[in-house]
């Protein structure tokens, strides 16, 4: 927990380059931290199609591609842009703290 809010969790150093992602865990949640166009986003790792880990995927512009079957999700609003997924993923915005750490409110993500 950081001092910035009840739901904000520390997700490690803000050291990613644009287009990079990494796994993270917080409060039992398997998460992905990504840097997209200069901003950090956080989303749960499980693809809404067959729950493959999106942490194995890659970023395509402002979207994440699932490595299993090729589903593509917007990292603006989580909408499935390409199938086979139909359901969205939950994406939350993240901030960088004064001491260079990624923090995010993950209360809307599910374990």
């Amino acid at each position: 927990m950081t001092a910035s809010g009840e739901h904000n969790v520390d997700l490690g150093p803000a050291d990613l380059a644009d287009g990079e992602l990494r796994e993270a865990t917080a409060g039992g949640l398997s998460l992905v931290v990504a840097r997209v166009e200069g901003r950090y986003v956080v989303f749960e790792t499980w693809c809404s199609h067959e729950e493959c880990p999106l942490s194995d995927g890659w970023l395509e512009g402002e979207a994440i591609r699932c490595a299993c079957h090729g589903a593509l999700f917007s990292l603006t609003d989580g909408v499935a842009l390409e199938g086979p997924a139909l359901d969205p993923i939950v994406v939350v915005g993240a901030s960088v703290t004064a001491d260079g750490r990624v923090a995010a409110d993950v209360s809307t993500l599910h374990a």
Partner: protein
């Protein structure tokens, strides 16, 4: 008989082939699940119902009977199987079609084909893009990946055209069967020595991978995979070319080609996704009711055959808004149903998309002044498969 049932009883295959969309629109409004005697199918037209029909295999499965597919493919293929048999066939296909494999191998496979065709066209200033560009890219790209690089593009195109005659033959037209049957027999004869060679000397091709993953003797493995191979020879070879042609036709018809010409790398993806939505190259997933089910307010008995119309789902106003019938490059991006719903979602979708993006992007990069031939506008045809029959264009050579 109600007024809508009477109207549906008068629908002809010719009307569907000419333009099915006004028919689907009326059904979505007045009878979203509607029996069409001309093809012997209950048409399912709304997005939510199409998703349900294609996704709930415990209630609605793929074993449509009678179906032209088993005859065309020479046996049960991946399209008509569910559960474990379908998963086994998917497991044979998926390794070569995983996104990471496609991203690593497809650009180097597709780009030379695209550049070679553009080199041949560039100085002419005119072309018919379906037969001279999009279909050759489609067949040669997939042919190479499958392990059929030795088969020329004209033969592969003739094969998918021939198989398509049978696959859409819900009206049991003998003339269509004659073409489809002859094509199937030719494919069997041509592939026999190739399959033997790949069995003796495996390689990284899709056909070799399928042979290795199948079970039993060589003959048993061939019997297992050959009908599914024919599905790929039809759908995998025809649809990317058709969808790419539809995309360019949509751009030209709507006056939005210029935007793509200014930024082909940035807009090719959006253009293709909207093209796939606007006119899905495969219009339906046919299904059979196995447990009495109510869909769209209609009680469907066991054995009822359904046409879950992905092409209609892609125009559902509840999902796509009042401009659903228009090709709109600026439409907010979201997933469409062109590659199907449920467990039978197209396993080759990523390869198809990568191929189409390269084809459309390079077309506009090399021929930015592309425009329609006003004397020969594109004419779309088909309801089960739909695409421009011809796409005549000009450019400043």
């Amino acid at each position: 008989m109600s007024a809508i049932e009477e109207w549906a009883s008068r629908i002809t295959v010719e009307q569907l082939d000419t333009d099915p969309y006004p028919i689907y629109a009326r059904m979505r409004r007045e009878a979203p699940v509607c029996f069409v005697p001309a093809v012997g199918l209950w048409f399912v037209t709304r997005w939510a119902d199409v998703d349900f029909a294609a996704s709930h295999t415990d209630r609605i499965d793929s074993a449509v009977s009678p179906s032209p597919l088993n005859r065309v493919m020479g046996g049960p293929s991946i399209l008509v199987l569910d559960g474990e048999p379908q998963k086994k066939l998917r497991a044979m296909l998926d390794p070569s079609l995983r996104p990471r494999v496609v991203e690593a191998t497809s650009p180097d496979l597709v780009a030379p084909i695209v550049e070679g065709l553009l080199d041949a066209l560039a100085d002419r200033g005119e072309a018919e893009l379906m037969s001279e560009y999009f279909e050759p890219i489609s067949v040669l790209s997939l042919g190479s990946m499958l392990g059929l690089a030795e088969i020329d593009g004209d033969t592969l195109r003739r094969w998918f055209h021939g198989l398509a005659q049978g696959a859409v033959n819900f009206e049991d037209d003998p003339a269509r069967w004659e073409i489809a049957d002859a094509t199937g027999e030719e494919i069997d004869r041509t592939l026999a020595p190739i399959l033997e060679r790949l069995w003796e000397v495996p390689d990284a091709s899709t056909i070799s991978t399928m042979l290795q993953h199948a079970e039993g003797s060589f003959d048993e493995r061939v019997a297992t995979i050959l009908p599914t191979l024919k599905v790929i020879l039809l759908g995998g070879m025809q649809e990317p070319g058709h969808a790419a042609g539809t995309t360019v036709a949509g751009l030209l018809e709507s006056g939005q080609a210029g935007a793509v010409a200014l930024d082909p790398a940035g807009l090719a993806r959006d253009a293709i996704e909207e093209g796939l939505r606007w006119v899905a190259p495969i219009g339906t997933q046919t299904r059979r009711v196995r447990v009495e089910t109510e869909l769209g307010g209609v009680p469907l008995p066991v054995g009822a055959n359904l046409g879950a119309l992905v092409s209609s789902a892609n125009r559902d106003e509840e999902v796509w808004g009042p401009t659903a019938d228009a090709y709109d490059l600026a439409r907010p991006s979201r997933n469409h149903g062109a590659f199907g719903f449920g467990p039978h979602f197209c396993s080759g979708h990523h390869f198809s998309r990568v191929q189409m993006r390269i084809a459309v992007q390079r077309l506009f990069e090399r021929l930015p002044s592309l425009r329609s031939d006003p004397d020969r506008p594109p004419v779309f045809n088909g309801w089960e498969f739909r695409a421009p029959q011809h796409l005549h264009v000009h450019w400043d050579a």
